[in-house]
């Protein structure tokens, strides 16, 4: 079974290759054999309506949820059975849905605790992450739980960057974020992707945003991939129908 062509640079082995992934919450099956690939340095967008399994897909790829079948290969290594923190050490960075932080820790501690758990332990990683979101520099002493939703999301992405990932998994990074910060977050994703060459697996509901950012996409419906392709294909009618609410 080969993954759908979502990498622009054909021929090069993909950074992430997910094949036949199945996942369930208890007896409720959510994913029924999903294939996704993300090429090194490319941005793949996972789309679909609410409740089709997008977040479940990211959780299963990340190892937060143990898949019931299928394989997750990252950088040529089968990581399907590895715990999530081992995947982080191999270069997968995850920003879960809902601007998650350690609420009682300060912004600085949020980054610090992540650095201490990382493989490289290089303090420079915190400075690099703060360069992406300079606003956070003024908030280092504040408790994360008291930041606004947008600031929390910036912290959440910065925290993932501290691990120096080669790929970022972003779950609806602009949801519940005030409009003034949405643009900043979008610009940051573009910079990370285009300037630093970070591969991204992005879950995004909004077609416009996906059109601006994605190299490739998959559309999920009912726990299976309905369509996959390159950014150009996103413009056709069938895709719009699949995404219409």
């Amino acid at each position: 079974m080969s993954g759908p062509e979502s990498t622009p640079e054909a021929g090069e082995p993909p950074l992430l290759e997910v094949t036949g992934l199945e996942a369930a919450y208890g007896r409720a099956r959510v994913l029924f054999g999903v294939d996704v690939t993300v090429g090194a340095g490319s941005l793949t967008c996972v789309m679909g309506r609410n409740g089709v399994g997008k977040t479940t897909l990211l959780n299963a790829v990340m190892g937060v949820l143990a898949p019931t079948a299928g394989r997750v290969v990252f950088d040529g290594e089968d990581v399907t059975r590895l715990p999530a923190h081992e995947r982080v050490r191999r270069g997968m960075g995850y920003v879960p849905q809902g601007h998650e932080t350690f609420p009682q820790l300060t912004v600085a501690e949020n980054l610090q605790v992540t650095l201490e758990a990382s493989r490289h332990r290089d303090r420079g990683a915190i400075d690099e992450a703060l360069e992406v979101f300079p606003r956070l520099k003024d908030l280092l002493g504040r408790r994360a739980g008291f930041l606004s939703g947008g600031q929390q999301q910036q912290l959440a992405i910065a925290r993932a960057l501290v691990t120096r990932p080669r790929m970022l998994l972003l779950d609806e990074p602009t949801e519940g974020v005030q409009p003034s910060i949405v643009a900043e977050i979008e610009a940051a994703i573009v910079r990370l992707h285009r300037e630093r060459g970070l591969a991204v697996l992005l879950v995004e509901q909004y077609l416009e945003l996906a059109l601006r950012l994605a190299d490739g996409f998959v559309i999920i419906e009912g726990g299976v991939v309905r369509r996959a392709g390159t950014a150009g294909d996103l413009r056709d009618e069938e895709v719009r129908r699949l995404l219409a609410v």
Partner: protein, 292 residues
């Protein structure tokens, strides 16, 4: 009026005992959510550790026992977590039954090893005697327990707020899944948390030998009080546990002063239950915009 003031040091010393027995639970129950009914038996293990060390350390056994009991009870807790409890995370009722069974087994083991009657640990000479405080007499042993409680709280506070493993522990307790995807090996943090929480029960057990004998069922006397303090203080909140322990100690001492020992227990229970009706989360809660 004098006799009213007399109750203050007594209340504080009861509070210190409550705090010591509850401190470990703020880790295992408060932070990890494990209802460990065998926590009382880790207290017992601490007491028997002091008893055993008498052969070697004589009357200074209590001092020598503090670190040893921490290690012994901690190791017991670590083994329990590894072998059993970790398979039941997220299943509180099963955990309750499991650890209750372990508690019975450990009590019987103590009976087999040390015999059913209580045993006495001789307090060091410098802990016998008493001083006058606020018109009442306060035994040195009680003062020592208070100092020990203060030292333990200070130590835990420093550990949690200043050390790397402490910071990691707080991160796991505040957002387990995020910690895992930040690269923290959460299962290893759980092991350490359980070790420390159980070890603190051992320290409490040593302290209890200063105010009474050690027996196989000593844990059952204190387990309910310990849970009471943690729940009233707010889960996982060190500050809450300290305030709840002192408040319950005071309440207990005054209720006992005006009524009698068993009625005092009833009053304390009633007050805690009433309090939890008003504030089910206890005194302090983790609060943030993220949780609202």
């Amino acid at each position: 009026m004098d006799s009213l003031l007399n109750q203050v040091p007594i209340g504080l010393s009861i509070g210190a005992v409550l705090l010591l027995v509850a401190l470990g639970l703020t880790f295992t129950f408060g932070q990890m959510g494990v209802v460990n009914m065998a926590h009382g038996e880790f207290i017992m293990a601490g007491g028997y550790t002091a008893y055993m060390l008498q052969d070697w350390a004589g009357s200074q056994a209590v001092l020598a026992a503090l670190p040893v009991a921490f290690a012994v009870a901690g190791a017991l807790g670590w083994v329990l977590e590894r072998l059993a409890i970790r398979h039941f995370y997220g299943r509180p009722l099963d955990t309750l039954l499991l650890t209750w069974g372990v508690s019975l087994v450990l009590q019987q083991a103590a009976r087999d090893l040390f015999g059913a009657p209580n045993v006495q640990v001789v307090a060091p000479g410098w802990l016998t005697g008493r001083i006058e405080v606020l018109g009442g007499a306060l035994p040195y042993a009680r003062l020592f327990i208070m100092a020990l409680a203060v030292a333990c709280v200070a130590g835990i506070w420093l550990y949690l707020s200043r050390s790397r493993p402490g910071r990691r522990m707080r991160a796991v307790m505040q957002n387990r899944q995020l910690a895992e995807v930040s690269g923290v090996a959460t299962a290893r943090v759980d092991q350490l948390t359980f070790f420390i929480g159980s070890g603190l029960a051992g320290v409490a057990g040593v302290a209890l030998t200063l105010i009474g004998p050690v027996g196989p069922s000593i844990g059952t006397y204190y387990i309910v009080d310990a849970f009471l303090v943690v729940v009233a203080g707010g889960l996982g909140q060190l500050r809450g546990a300290v305030i709840a322990a002192v408040a319950l100690g005071m309440l207990n001492s005054y209720a006992e002063f005006w009524t009698d020992a068993s009625l005092a227990k009833v009053i304390v229970f009633a007050v805690v239950i009433g309090f939890l009706q008003v504030r089910p989360q206890g005194m302090f809660v983790l609060r943030s915009r993220a949780l609202t």
